[in-house]
Symmetry: C2
Subunit: 314 residues, 2 copies
Amino acid sequence: MYYIGVDLGGTNIAAGLFNESGQFIDKNSIPTQSRREAAEILKDLAFLCKGIIEKNKLDLKEVDSIGIGSPGFCDSDNTVVVYSNNLNFHNVNIKEHINRYIDLPVFLDNDANCAAYGENLYGACAGAQHSITVTLGTGIGGGIISNGKIVRGKSGSGGEIGHTTLVFGGEMCTCGRSGCWEAYASATALIRDIKIAAIKNPTSMTYKEIDNDFNKVDAKFAFDMAEMGDPIAQKIVDDYIVYVSEGLANIINIFDPEIVAIGGGVANRGEKIMAPIRELTAKNCFGGILSTKVVTAKLGNDAGIIGAAFLSKL
Amino acid sequence: MYYIGVDLGGTNIAAGLFNESGQFIDKNSIPTQSRREAAEILKDLAFLCKGIIEKNKLDLKEVDSIGIGSPGFCDSDNTVVVYSNNLNFHNVNIKEHINRYIDLPVFLDNDANCAAYGENLYGACAGAQHSITVTLGTGIGGGIISNGKIVRGKSGSGGEIGHTTLVFGGEMCTCGRSGCWEAYASATALIRDIKIAAIKNPTSMTYKEIDNDFNKVDAKFAFDMAEMGDPIAQKIVDDYIVYVSEGLANIINIFDPEIVAIGGGVANRGEKIMAPIRELTAKNCFGGILSTKVVTAKLGNDAGIIGAAFLSKL
């Protein structure tokens, strides 16, 4: 049996064909052109899948299902994207649209949950009954597997671990609340904090390196300046690691998972960042012992497609 | 078929007999005398269960199992109490001990999880696939049901929602960390805060009412003083409600449960406390809409026995 997984992104629609053991057999992608109507986008998506099936000379009977990872808020039980800002979808029944063109079972979940499930099946968390994948990017993306199931909650909005208060009365978050973990441990927060530190310290190496071109400041820049020896940048990176670790200890205390996988650019800085995160997380875990593995996510952007492909197995 | 549930407490061992539909048929309890060896305590527990079975003229074949709710850290898979401070148990295999005296399947989970499961089966959260029971007492006890299963995690220490940082760098918690939800939203925290407020305001009604007898200060006292019109106490109660609500919004954002049930003395103050908690929790939920019901727990101290009785059904 074969499985198709689709990452329905704001920029591209990427589809992958997998065999029973999770091996990539083929993949293809097309631009989303996300300003179009849902019907047009999903017609393209269906034909993308059809094309892969035909190219690989498969009979429909050999394909188990099409699984879709979508941004936004998804009602998996009814295969409905309730709302997606990136796609301008409102209550779109994905299955209905796709079944107009291709007669296969269709499964749906949001992209963060698919990525977590992918890592749980074939990535950094393979084999775990309880695992969490945290992506530290523009925001904090979270997907939780507990007792072998995705924690979707009653209406699919479970897993919003980034939107939990860490610093009571702290920085405003994009969600409208203040002090969320995301407002301190996302790459966006790191970028904000290094910019502020530079402005406050106009004689610092970091300020000079920025040279008034604040567009060049990204998370990598912050880490690079710390590594180049600017104590101002080092302080910001140290604080950032504390914030990341505090939030990790929180979710570990709640879920007691076997593994937490961290994705996004931050984790890719390697052990220089991961080692202190692990140490501080351990210090803050209940009992002070970190029996949960904290590792770097393995599958990168493919995690979502792989997870989506095997949604039928849940 | 009949079910036996046991609440193995530090003070008493309480056992209940239930029929298939969760109705209490009989109950009995004995003092734990917790300074004794595990073997002695569990022998008494086994005979307590045996007594109930014999009194109700049941054949062993008519009894499904004995389920035990224990304080401390439990390895449910192996029916081992790994560690319990209240009982002085270390790696005690509950099943082995009980099976010396009575040949029935034995199930184990910690008391907070059993209470949450009890509320989920026959209490305030009946019928929910996703529910959380929070007990605001000396600490914050939490039990989580997600996808119909208890969130135990890999080693049974899941559900420690009280030990998640809410106030970064804040008050010390009993767990050794600072700023935990428990350090702000437990009854203990409320008592600490009303005492401090009184000391800081020696002309206040609250300070006068205490009259240097700080032993009389409990959570009820704080609520009573606020209701009697002391602005000092009202401020403390208002702040307390904010802390409770912030933490509730955090767990709702993570789990998207159908229902959160609140137990302990605080919830029993009724709508005067519950209504503002609901309002503030809504404000802090992702999207600002509270689609999760926030209610008072129903089963009180019986929740744990009922949940324990039906552990075999998980």
